[in-house]
Structures are given as structure tokens and as C-alpha cells.
Subunit: 206 residues, 2 copies
């Protein structure tokens, strides 16, 4: 199947719909209205209907969507995104916590190697992969054709490490560092900044 | 100072500008152009200029922004957001990793208590706070007037725990569970779903 060109934020929402439909399917629920599906995914019904037009129309007026067939369609769109090997760079406090987290593997993303500028100082208890010196990172990425990296280095090192990753062939970075990374157009970056998430929330506390 | 009404996403970007300006200030850089500040924060210059009009005009045409005075202004806007006590609910694999992460405290968010439905089974090595039974959560939130919670429970428990948190007075939730939470309008939720972030990135790998 040729890859559909779907905007980034829409792909994100497709992942949300996918998870809701999976849950419905497990509970043997056969149809779902667009309103109910939208609510469960936290989007507006108009947004949901618009997103689903990327691969044809599925809803039946008054009956809603068939859970199984919509799930199959979404699986087709998103399946290429699973079972990707990932490397992690930066095994400090957050990085080593992420290494111990088994939720990535459960969803088909295995962290197959980890790198740090001071591997001997990393907290490696309970980590499943050894921490290698960052000097070996580029070679490893090339050798294993790794495309995806999780970046958990301090801000001061983030851009330099990113440059090396991109040179070695990395195409997508999940960035936990506090820096906004400058990357060429073929590389995508998603930022997760936990402190900013909290800061943002607390602004709205009365 | 009365609280300005600034949209949520704009507040998020103010946090980004704040961090860039802090770094510039530490490096004794006195002025910054809107283009340079926008690039470092990963936003378009027009967006930056629009965001900064929320509290008056600061740039001088051709000279850019004065780092120190813009930083002071942003500190004024965002300062109420710091030094908030936080509780964490769900001390499983991810929750206990977050408990060990010291980045929250560094940014002024101290996790003062943690709760789990099976506290005796939680991985508590290196955790700074004891894990309490979830039955004690509501009373704790009320007693200490906690407004902010980090939710790291499984999806199946997330809505029920959320209902209890809201009843007890929680106003903001950083949600790591895979569920979209249904909350009343006075409660804000930010979602962090690490698996979806990876899934989203890999969709764009060629």
C-alpha cells in the first residue's frame, strides 16, 4: 500500500482513535458513533470526521462506524510505524528511567542500545542494555540502519549529539532535552518537556 | 499583578521563550532579534511577535528585544506557576521511574507524596517519598490543598482515579495514562503518551 500523505497532527489523532477502537474491540463492541469515538479520543466530532476522510468514508449515517473495519483500516495506515528499533542517547537521571520503562517495548519499540558520554557513571541497575560510550554511537546507527532515537542528554549537549545522529542517518528524534533542535527538513522531532508540561498546567490553577 | 488571560498554547510557548532567554542571560547576551529568539524556541517569528503582545510591546525595530527586561516580564507572568507541590498516582513501571527523576524538583515541582493501589508491590528503591495506599489519596489532597497531580496509572483505572482527584480538589493533571480523561471545565489535563510520540515519529521515517 502506498503511504498516504497525512499531516503530522492528524497522524497523532489516528493513533488516539486506534487505541480507543482497540479497547472497544476487546470489549466486543461492534459499532461506535462518531460523537462517542470523538469524545473518547478527546477531539471534536467534526475533527474526527475530517480525519477519517483521509482514507475514504466509513461512517453510516445514524449507525456510526464499524469498529472492526475502521480498526483494520487504521492498522493498515499505522502498521509501518511499529516494531522499530530505537536507540537512547543520554543515560542520566531521565534517560536511565526511560531505559527501565517497559512501556516502549510493549508497544513495539525496542531500545536496542544506549549511549552516554560517561557510560561508567550511568545508573545501569535494572537496565536491559549496556550503556556504550557516545563515541560508538554513529557507527552503531550506520551499522544497524537505525532511524529513530530518543534524546535525553542535557541541553548543552543536545544540538551537537543531534548533528551526529543526523549525519549517521537518524530520521526521527523523540527529544526530552530542554533545547529546541535545529534539524534538516527530512528529520522530524517531537519534543517532550515534562517540566514545561507541569509549568503550563499550573498556570491555570486558581 | 492580576493574571493575564493567555491561551494555553501561548503559555506553553512563553515557557519556551523563557528558557531561551534564561540561557542567553546566563551567557551575558543583552539583546536578541525576534528572528533569533523565534528560531531558538522553534516557532515562527510572526508567532513570537504575536505572543509577546499579550503583555505589551518590547521589541525595538532593528535592535530586537532586551533579554533582561523580557525575561523579567516573563518571570512575572509565569512565576505563579512554580514551586507547586505535586502528587503522583500510580507507582508502576513508569510512575516509579518518574519518582526517581529529579528534573521536576529542579524546576520547582516537588513530588510530595505517591499513591498506588498496591503500595507493597511498587518498586520503591531510590524513591524519595513512600508509596501510600490509594485509599488515602483523597484525604491527603484535601488536607494539603494539592492542586496538581501526575497520573501514571493503567488506562483501565485512569478515569476512576481522576474522578476521585477532581472530587478532592485537584485542578490540573499531567496524564501519562493512555486514556483521554473526561473532566469538568475547571480542570485542565495535559497528556503525555510516550508510545504515541514514537508511533507518530516513525510514521514519517522513509
Amino acid at each position: 500500500m502506498p503511504k498516504l500523505v497525512i499531516p503530522r497532527k492528524a497522524v497523532y489523532r489516528l493513533s488516539l482513535y486506534y487505541r480507543v477502537l482497540e479497547r472497544l474491540n476487546q470489549n466486543r463492541i461492534e459499532t461506535v458513533s462518531s460523537d462517542a469515538l470523538a469524545k473518547a479520543a478527546g477531539v471534536k466530532p467534526t475533527q474526527l470526521r475530517k480525519d477519517l476522510t483521509y482514507f475514504g468514508q466509513f461512517g453510516t449515517r445514524g449507525l456510526g462506524y464499524k469498529v472492526e473495519s475502521l480498526l483494520a483500516k487504521l492498522t493498515g495506515v499505522l502498521r509501518t510505524t511499529r516494531f522499530q528499533p530505537v536507540i537512547l542517547v543520554g543515560a542520566g537521571n531521565l534517560g536511565s528511567a526511560l531505559l527501565r520503562y517497559d512501556g516502549f517495548a510493549k508497544e513495539g519499540f525496542e531500545i536496542i542500545a544506549a549511549f552516554d558520554s560517561r557510560p561508567e557513571g550511568a545508573k545501569t541497575d535494572n537496565c536491559k542494555v549496556p550503556i556504550q560510550p557516545v563515541e560508538q554511537m554513529k557507527e552503531f546507527v550506520r551499522e544497524h540502519s537505525i532511524k529513530l532515537a530518543i534524546l535525553a542528554v542535557p541541553g548543552v549537549a543536545a544540538q551537537e549529539v543531534t548533528n551526529q545522529l543526523v549525519e549517521a542517518g537518524i530520521q526521527a528524534i523523540l527529544n526530552f532535552s530542554p533545547l529546541i533542535l535545529q534539524v534538516p527538513p527530512h528529520v522530524v522531532v517531537n519534543n517532550v518537556n515534562l517540566a514545561i508540561e507541569l509549568e503550563n498546567l499550573t498556570y491555570f490553577i486558581t
